[in-house]
């Protein structure tokens, strides 16, 4: 299956790698199928591209790369619904907001995306912890996170899609 996207042109989609957002991305309830596009494995910023609407894509980031002590508590019923038995099984990504001039990059730590990489089911959860910022400013932060320590998805992870056309 191929999809037409606004950012990457025509993208071949391996249906076995499609992520189903069973718990919707708030505001995008009608879109539940996404693919993860990883332009560069060494960088923690990736794309989450909608399969259903080629115009919609989010920049997502591995939150642990910029905030190693981030500990999102996944509610039990969500974990159960996604079939996640141990926290380390889950892939956690945060939606990134990028504003230019001046460059300001924030991660939404309050509402991470939690994905079970085996079943490829996921959802956006809203953490009860009010202290988690919706706009965690990483503009000045990454100096504390050397690149060598950036955790990425485990090798061979099934949701990764490596055959990525370079961005237009």
């Amino acid at each position: 299956m191929n999809i037409n996207t606004a950012r990457f042109g025509e993208v071949p989609v391996d249906e076995s790698k499609v992520i189903t957002m069973a718990g919707p991305i708030l505001g995008f309830e009608q879109l539940d199928r996404f693919i993860l596009i990883v332009p560069d494995e060494k960088k923690p910023f990736w794309w989450l591209q909608s399969v259903d609407d080629g115009a919609i894509a989010f920049v997502v980031a591995n939150p642990f790369a910029v905030k190693p002590d981030y500990e999102p508590e996944i509610p039990g019923d969500v974990a159960q619904a996604l079939g996640i038995e141990r926290p380390e099984e889950a892939v956690v990504l945060c939606i990134v907001n990028i504003r230019k001039d001046p460059l300001k990059v924030t991660l939404n730590l309050r509402a991470p995306l939690v994905i079970n990489p085996v079943t490829k089911r996921g959802g956006q959860i809203v953490l009860e912890d009010h202290a988690q910022p919706i706009q965690f400013d990483v503009t000045g932060v990454p100096k504390t996170a050397p690149q060598s320590s950036i955790p990425v998805l485990p090798p061979g992870d099934p949701i990764r899609m490596l055959s990525v056309p370079s961005p237009l």
């Binding site: 718990g23 708030l26 505001g27 910023f45 919609i56 939606i95 907001n97 990059v105 932060v141």
Partner: protein, 83 residues
């Protein structure tokens, strides 16, 4: 909008599987208990709106970063950190 009056401890049933119980009033705060099917998300409205708006902005704004996304991390860690 349907408006109902309830006493403490009383509840409202919506459909056949959602129940909202009014538990306690403290000044201007009301504690509400919600029973809903698993998988049905319940949000505080203002939090829901904040996150939805943030998502919409992210989807809109990510287009701007298109050319630079792979470089943004480097800008943040290297060039971007110099100021």
């Amino acid at each position: 909008m349907l408006i109902l009056t309830r006493k403490l401890g009383e509840a409202i049933v919506i459909g056949h599987d959602i129940k909202i119980t009014f538990l306690e009033i403290r000044g201007k705060q009301i504690r509400v208990g919600i029973e809903a099917p698993k998988g049905l998300a319940v949000h505080r409205e203002e939090v829901y709106r904040l996150i939805r708006d943030q998502n919409v902005e992210a989807a809109r704004g990510s287009g701007m970063a298109l050319h630079r996304l792979p470089d943004i991390w480097e800008q943040l860690t290297g060039e971007g950190a110099k100021k």
